[in-house]
């Protein structure tokens, strides 16, 4: 049991998928506070890794065709896919970040949970079934259904890779910090470990292995969080009023933790953030890809229903966990860095930063055995998310860019899958390098950027291609690239990056989230450029819509599906 000393890293916030505001409010996980090696955590983590590698080996034997590799052969059931979607979506940010935000500011954490859930009904009502009916492996299949394949697939692949890159950087840096803290493993080794495992799952086991890693992770996370929340509630005889009462007595900000605080200040920021959260969910490529793993539209529908239930339940748990951490940790100095005379800051003084509230709570409730379990769960959580991202990125390279955009479909399935595996390895190497490069940077804005790009590029193109017969290739390209470009530029010029990361005096764009503006630009550009496009080619594209519409609404001719 030897604590490994680690270099301090001032100012680097743990992203873990946390948004700018979460990171500001909830604070970083600080590597300098590394804990002594937790043997239980290491053993449980090794069991998880061994189990997932065994599954990968089993999956590798079953992965023969491209349909197996990209879409698990379409054999996943609606319930399984619901769990896998939940496992793909609930990042460590949801678990550690939101419970940490509740720990530091109470009610504000609930505002985030709500935002992260409300995109799901939209995915169900408008996207899921039509996506399944029109596509095979990636959402670009749908966007390019009646438009020019090469430019539209290039646009979709760029949108996919941008989302994957930003999301992956945030996850890799967060994973490195977390592992450094929980297991005492040096940062670079942690990056190589995460990168190596995610590439192994994806390259050898494809979608089958990725799906099962996500299902196992979802079960572990839901069980762990349920136990934590239940123990908190038992402590207060299942009276939430008693829990809140005690929290307001212990928390330095008293009663104000029960009301909206600093998170939402002006309506424009609030709406812009809300748009990114709600519609970004419907544009995340690794999530959209999951709908091709089920048999038909009906199963796709069922999977969103279950996923919404699991994710909503989980966010309610994180709220209880955050309040439980306030009541059970804040009066115990052993969880805090003590200053002069044994005094400590009840929020920022928490060892490892406020994002560690749930982890410390697990120790307070179940001792070091349960601490080990929750640590292993947090790690499994990250692995499942990065595996999904890697598979989405690799598919964009092999299926969209290579096979369909540049080789005009003259590629054998075997070559395409092999290229996808090579792409997965390349993405893994790039992710490790980026994770290392960004170690000391504040990357908290990256997930916000990923959601903004998904909402401003992927989502408008996908939604309009399904619902608006007037859209042409030119309109989709103009809207998609303007949405993508404007989202990135506005985030770079925003306070979170321009001031906090680059250190300039004042921001050139006043809001941290660009979605309100970049989404408006994307949708209006799609409309205007399509309307202005009067070429015969554009007319031919519009004429194809009616047949596409029948397919998207009925599932006739859908890939691998039985007719309804």
């Amino acid at each position: 049991m030897c604590p490994i000393p680690l270099a301090a890293w001032g100012g680097g916030a743990l992203a873990l998928g946390a948004f700018v505001d979460v990171a500001h409010a909830a604070g970083p996980i600080e590597g300098a506070d590394a804990q002594a090696l937790n043997v239980e955590a290491v053993v449980m983590f090794l069991v998880f890794v061994a189990a997932t590698l065994a599954i990968t080996k089993w999956a590798a034997n079953r992965t023969r065709s491209a349909a197996d590799f990209y879409a698990a052969g379409g054999n996943v059931t609606g319930f399984q896919n619901g769990l896998a979607i939940a496992g793909d979506y609930m990042s460590a940010a949801s678990f550690l970040g939101i419970s940490g935000l509740v720990f530091s500011s109470g009610f504000d954490g609930l505002i985030y949970s709500v935002g992260w859930l409300v995109g799901w009904p939209i995915v169900l009502f408008l996207i899921a079934e039509r996506l399944r009916n029109l596509g095979r492996y990636t959402f670009a299949d749908v966007a390019a259904f009646r438009l020019a394949a090469r430019p539209i697939r290039t646009l979709s692949a760029v949108g996919t890779l941008a989302v994957v890159a930003f999301y992956l950087i945030a996850q890799m840096v967060g994973a490195g910090k977390l592992i450094e803290l929980l297991f005492g493993l040096p940062y670079l080794y942690a990056e190589i470990l995460v990168g190596g495992l995610m590439v192994t799952y994806v390259a050898f086991g494809g979608m089958v292995a990725t799906t099962w890693v996500q299902i196992i992770k979802a079960c572990l996370l839901l069980c762990g969080a349920t136990f934590l929340a239940a123990m908190v509630l038992i402590h207060f005889d299942f009276s939430t009023e008693a829990l809140f009462q005690r929290a307001t007595e212990v928390h330095p900000e008293g009663l104000s933790i029960m009301a909206p605080g600093k998170l939402v200040t002006d309506p424009i920021s609030a709406v812009s953030l809300g748009l990114a959260l709600m519609f970004g969910t419907a544009g995340l490529p690794h999530i959209l890809m999951r709908f091709f793993t089920v048999r038909d539209a009906k199963a796709a529908r069922k999977s969103v229903y279950f996923a919404t239930g699991f994710i909503g339940y989980f966010y309610i748990l994180t709220f209880i966990i955050g309040f439980g951490a306030i009541t059970l940790l804040m009066n115990d100095p052993s969880y805090f860095k003590s200053g002069e005379g044994g005094s400590y800051d009840k929020i920022s003084g928490l060892i490892g930063g406020t994002n560690m509230a749930a982890v410390h709570l697990s120790k307070a409730i179940g001792g070091s055995l349960f601490l080990g379990f929750i640590s292993a769960v947090a790690f499994a959580t990250i692995l499942a998310v990065v595996a999904g991202l890697t598979l989405a990125g690799a598919s964009a390279v092999s299926h969209d860019l290579y096979a369909n955009a540049f080789a005009n479909d003259r590629v054998s399935e075997h070559t395409e899958v092999r290229l996808s595996k090579i792409a997965a390895v390349a993405i893994g190497i790039v992710a490790i390098i980026l994770g290392y490069v960004f170690e000391k940077q504040n990357v908290a804005f990256m997930v916000g950027l990923a959601f903004a790009v998904a909402a401003s590029c992927n989502f408008p193109v996908l939604l309009m291609s399904v619902f608006w017969g007037g859209m042409t290739t030119r309109g989709a390209l103009a809207g998609g690239f303007l949405g993508l470009g404007s989202a990135i530029v506005m985030v770079v010029l925003s306070p979170a990056v321009w001031v906090t990361t680059f250190g300039f005096q004042s921001a050139l764009f006043p809001y941290d989230n660009p979605a309100l503006f970049s989404m408006s630009l994307a949708f209006s550009s799609i409309y205007i450029f399509s309307k202005l496009n009067r070429s015969p080619h554009a007319d031919a594209e519009r004429a194809l819509f009616d047949a596409q519409f029948v397919r998207s609404e009925t599932g006739i001719g859908a890939a691998g599906a039985t007719a309804h």
């Binding site: 009904p121 909206p260 229903y305 047949a547």
Partner: protein
Amino acid sequence: MRSETDALIERMQRDPEFHELVRERSRFAWGLSALMIAIYFGFILFVAFWPEALGAPIGSGVTTVGIPLGLGVILSAFVLTGLYVHRANAKFDALIHRIIERAK
């Protein structure tokens, strides 16, 4: 070169009953989407404009109005997806199946 699928799709395109069903289903789906958007942005704007109202305690306790409201938004998302799935399974699937079979 026309496949059987293309021929089926063409017949569906001309079927008024198909268009009527799709219109009804779309109205339902867009209506639920609008409702979800209204609930969520209603909540967000409530937080932005009237934080004191959400911070008001219920009765004599410390639990505030905002807590059941926030949890209510989470529950409403689940309830709305349930409503959609129920209606689609119980009604739309059977109708569309019948129309396709007839067109075959």
